[in-house]
Subunit: 340 residues, 2 copies
Amino acid sequence: MAGDENSALRSRRGTSYDVARRAGVSQSAVSRCFRPGASVAPATRARIIAAANELGYRPNAIAQGLITRRSNMVAVIISNLTNLYYPEVLAELTQRLSERGVRVLLFALKAESEIDDVLDQVWRYQVDGAIVAARLSPEQLAAFHDRGTALVLYNRESHEVPAASVSCEFAAGETMLVDGMVAAGCCRFAVIGGPADSAVGEARVNGAIERLGRAGFDDIPMERGDFSYDSGYRAAHRLLNAGPLDAIIAANDVMALGAMDAARHDFGLDIPEQLSVVGFDGVAPAQWRSYRLTTVRQPVQRMTAAAITMLFERIDDPDLGPERRLFSGDLIPGATARLA
Amino acid sequence: MAGDENSALRSRRGTSYDVARRAGVSQSAVSRCFRPGASVAPATRARIIAAANELGYRPNAIAQGLITRRSNMVAVIISNLTNLYYPEVLAELTQRLSERGVRVLLFALKAESEIDDVLDQVWRYQVDGAIVAARLSPEQLAAFHDRGTALVLYNRESHEVPAASVSCEFAAGETMLVDGMVAAGCCRFAVIGGPADSAVGEARVNGAIERLGRAGFDDIPMERGDFSYDSGYRAAHRLLNAGPLDAIIAANDVMALGAMDAARHDFGLDIPEQLSVVGFDGVAPAQWRSYRLTTVRQPVQRMTAAAITMLFERIDDPDLGPERRLFSGDLIPGATARLA
């Protein structure tokens, strides 16, 4: 009986052979029907689609990938996924790739040092490309090149081995904030940096310190955190215990929020009257009413769109040369810094 | 010259044939060497590994998957990734799966209604299983069963079509909070619910309302949000404009934080002296010093570990029956509710 045959076929996942038999066409017609751009007569296509729906058949993307040499998968490698900044980036990347029919193979690193093991997996899954928000060594960058796997660095740059990259100009953002606070009369500055092995953290901190140096402020005290709230909170304790300050510049928003809470709740300081605090990123919680942080927002939508465009250009043409795209952040005035 | 040959081979990604030739063994010996559990003499294995490393060869996981009928990929389907709760869940799932040599194919939904398109992709990539934190219809649940694709629901349950699920007992958590506030003398309660089509939100709200009913409090005013800070902030405005309250019960932490900020900054209320506010989830920002929210923390580590165990049991034995695992949340006393 047709009904029984239906359910028996479904439970073993209908194959292209089953669909061909049901539609009364050849197996190669079924393959063509599901291959983008291949020609099939409209009536035949309709019969095949109807048979495929009845049998619950879907073309096997993996097997198609072996034939077309496109897996239609892109690796997204992110260190520190619980950093509040990355979920927005990941959601944007996943949705934009999905609109192009490409799936995300996700790699979340606990530490940037895990990258070697991850790359081993990336090669094995033969992804079409990778968007990497983690530090790659020159050897690792060269491996992408040698294998012809398209690569775009996100919020990282590579100078020894040029690579395609999208990032936000830290220096420009820090300059706006530093100049504004100097003009408002702040003199005693301190910095909360990220881990010493974080390229992003170092770029931000160095941008701020360099700009302060030009304004005549040297020997800026610095404490390091790990980009977390608790580490910003503790760093602010160490800095404020060492002496009075006019301004704290944190390498990301979440540490700035920890520093604000330490200053307000434990040192009884009014922000921004007695202490200015500024961050960097533009994460959503920084604009909650209890904080309203003065910060520089990265244009995540434009940056993720650019990363994906650059990646597809390189999937289509593996010989395309390196390119750096640098976006300027938007100053969010907020309410935590005296700026003039 | 050997050097030139090396780089030529590398740039076209060495194949198992190249490795076999270089190591002086058969191609099938190379395949065996990279297949878990297959036997290869130690000296032969060493020669093959050395040749593979020289040539930059990695076995093709995709092709292996077609042979073993295991893709070693698991789909993780999450609606609303920017909800602060999910990044922690996703990071835990990704790292735990990675430890088992399994990759995450990520699907992030903007709306739960996108699920049909996503499932179409899930079938095409022939994942070994899926962990789903989104609402599935009975037909969609049946499709997993019919296709023999292992499925575990995360923070969702299915009653019409039984399925494996891991969730946190909302009722127990809400009961602790509601009973504590009633005992402390709160009388005028209000609720901030999630969207009406969110199963999780409805379960939490209904748990609270039912418990309040048992304590003699009926006709509890409710406003709905979308789990975001802004929606909690606006819902609190509507509730507090309608009349004085003793307590607001929010369906998640982030809406509770929005409600706190509205109550404190716009209505000048002391929390918890004049208003108690409670949430649910246990996200990190809820414990920042400016909030210290009274809430129920979901045991994310135990829940994700359980989800993965259940998933692998079902990948190994597709006929294994449904099972519901319910974890109790931990009360975090915080500082935003009067509890007795």
